[in-house]
């Protein structure tokens, strides 16, 4: 028996099979969780729940012309922006808004991955998002456009800009040598390989 697609599970859920939505949640949990973990560590639990709740609420209206993942990321994106609006500053005050950090040095063992993450996290949010959705979530530019409410050409432009900036940061953050050469030479491949490393680095993959 083949694994049901997201749309089939959605159909089943509409037909009254409550466990089908659970399966959808399980399936996409790590992706959504990572989306939040990396940028709002302290609120990631909450926002992940909110996203799936929001998806459940809106699921009956979901047409199925976009992929369910795109639909989820669109909801997650809105949650994220709202959360960042509520807690804007890059300024963290002692004893007031100290927040936990996620994704530790120890969870990421390879040096090139560490440096790439240091560079990636320095990109403006809109560039980080397109990069992650493209390389880690394997969404196509059109899907990313739908998730982030952008037109596909904007997405492509941002991807190019992100690669360029990553290269600049990496040059600044590394010494000349083989590590830097590898990073700059195989930037796309290494970025792609980083996906599985960060998936569930703060979380345990659901059973």
């Amino acid at each position: 028996m083949s694994v049901p697609s997201d749309n089939e599970l959605l159909q089943a859920w509409r037909g009254g099979d409550g466990s089908a939505f659970e399966e959808l949640t399980r399936r996409h949990y790590v992706s959504i969780r990572r989306f939040f973990d990396l940028r709002v560590a302290g609120a990631a639990d909450d926002l992940t729940q909110q996203t799936f709740l929001g998806a459940l609420e809106a699921a009956s209206r979901f047409r199925g012309d976009a992929s369910f993942r795109t639909f989820l990321f669109a909801i997650a994106h809105k949650q994220l922006l709202r959360s960042l609006r509520e807690r804007p500053a890059a300024i963290e005050r002692f004893g007031v808004d100290e927040a936990p950090t996620s994704l530790s040095m120890i969870a990421v063992r390879q040096q090139e991955h560490q440096f790439l993450l240091m560079a990636l996290t320095q990109l403006p949010l809109e560039l980080q998002l397109v990069t992650e959705l493209y390389y880690w979530e394997n969404l196509r530019t059109a899907e990313i456009g739908e998730a982030l409410s952008l037109n596909p050409s904007t997405v492509a432009g941002r991807l190019a800009r992100a690669r360029e900036l990553l290269g600049e940061h990496l040059t600044q953050m590394t010494r000349p040598g083989p590590l830097r050469d590898r990073l700059l030479g195989d930037l796309e491949q290494i970025t792609r390989a980083l996906g599985p490393v960060t998936a569930g680095a703060n979380t345990r993959t659901p059973p």
Partner: protein
Amino acid sequence: MDATHVARALGLPPGTRIGRYTLVRRVAMGGMAEVYLAQLRGAERFAKLVALKLILPQFAGDPEFARMFLDEARLASRLQHPNVTAVLDFGEYQGEHFITMEFVHGRHLLELMRAHRGRPLARDVALTIVSGVAAGLHHMHELRDHDGSPLGLVHRDVSPSNVLLSYEGAVKLTDFGIAKAVEHTSATRTGAFKGKVGYASPEQCRGEPIDRRSDLFALGILLYETTLGARAFSGPNEFAVLGRVARADYVPPSQIDPDYPPALAEIVAKALAVDPADRFATAALLADALDGYAHAQHWRLAPARVVEAMTTHFGETPPITSADEASWLATDPSTRVAATSLAGASIVAPTPAGPRRRLAATIAGTLALVGTTAVAVTLVARPSEATPSAAPVVDTAPAAATDEAPPSVAPVLVPTVVIAAPAAPSTAAPSTAAPSADPTAAPNAEPAVDVEPPNKGPKRRRPTKRADKPAAAAVPDNLYPPGYRP
């Protein structure tokens, strides 16, 4: 439950003897070590209170770490400066390494900063503290070998929790050498640098060789943070923080405090230069710059203002030892039985290292199953002590199916995405912790004396009052995890 909680439950009980030292109580628990208030006893009722730092069992098992710890303790023992906690002794007790240091009765700087709740310290207080740390650091940087050759020591872990402030206003940098030793332990061997991410230097982030100017950057961070009440480098994950450090990308002081004095901002900017060559060349030069600034303001950087800040935020100075502890300490150890009631806790005889070690291994194994994050937390968590959200588990318990909209929706989904604690065994479950059913479980190394019923009266050799119930039953439920047989 994370490693910290488990380990916390394992603290050695008061009265435990470690070499010539008797533990009074645990004062803190760090990532690699526990710190106790302890008493050194000599002949003729000589007694001195010290801080005893005991390396956690999971690190004690690594011979290379132990060797480095010893090497560094030797170096640290040669540091003699009012702004440095003096190392007194190094020892090994049943395979666990410890150092003793002067006990600093006070708080660490992070506590003081947190107590300010996002407001800066008074500027003269901040400058007193930072210039004190700079002086202590300079002493370390300048340390020479016996033959006069410079040792080139770098602290690598200059951070608010490693700056101790005594209630009398003394400012002392601590954790010397241990930062360096840690580099050699397998537990932290990965990564571009060691130490706390928010207090690294750009060259540490880049994995470059470092020298004293790396500590100078950290001093700049201390100056920034104490005078602004905000973190210099923060971010939602450790890489975001490191990336900002690597670029020295901090919010300019004037943006946080429009009245921030430009002269001070200049000192901050110089200390936080990306290129080490652009920073102050020595900690003494930074201290000079701060003194110069203070002088221009007609401030005297003196301990009195630190005392004031301490009293304002922490109240009257508490006694080092409680009345119970004091009277207990006053007794002659040779007349003391192993199990005596002390300040509501129980004293048990010296705990052998073996079981602790074994348990630590079990814990490490458990965490390995849960995932790396929990382990990482204890090793590199920022000083906020904030534990990252517990590893989530999607609850697989079948939820009542429903296809209705919102109101009834929550009860369906919430259990589905419940973010539960990691599936670690409930190691400290009180119910299983009481070993009372097993008479051999009494945590007592001197059973002949201590299993005697209390009403039998004191023995000749042991005239002191004894515990009024068997020691095993007196052990608080949460002191030992299940399966632990001291």
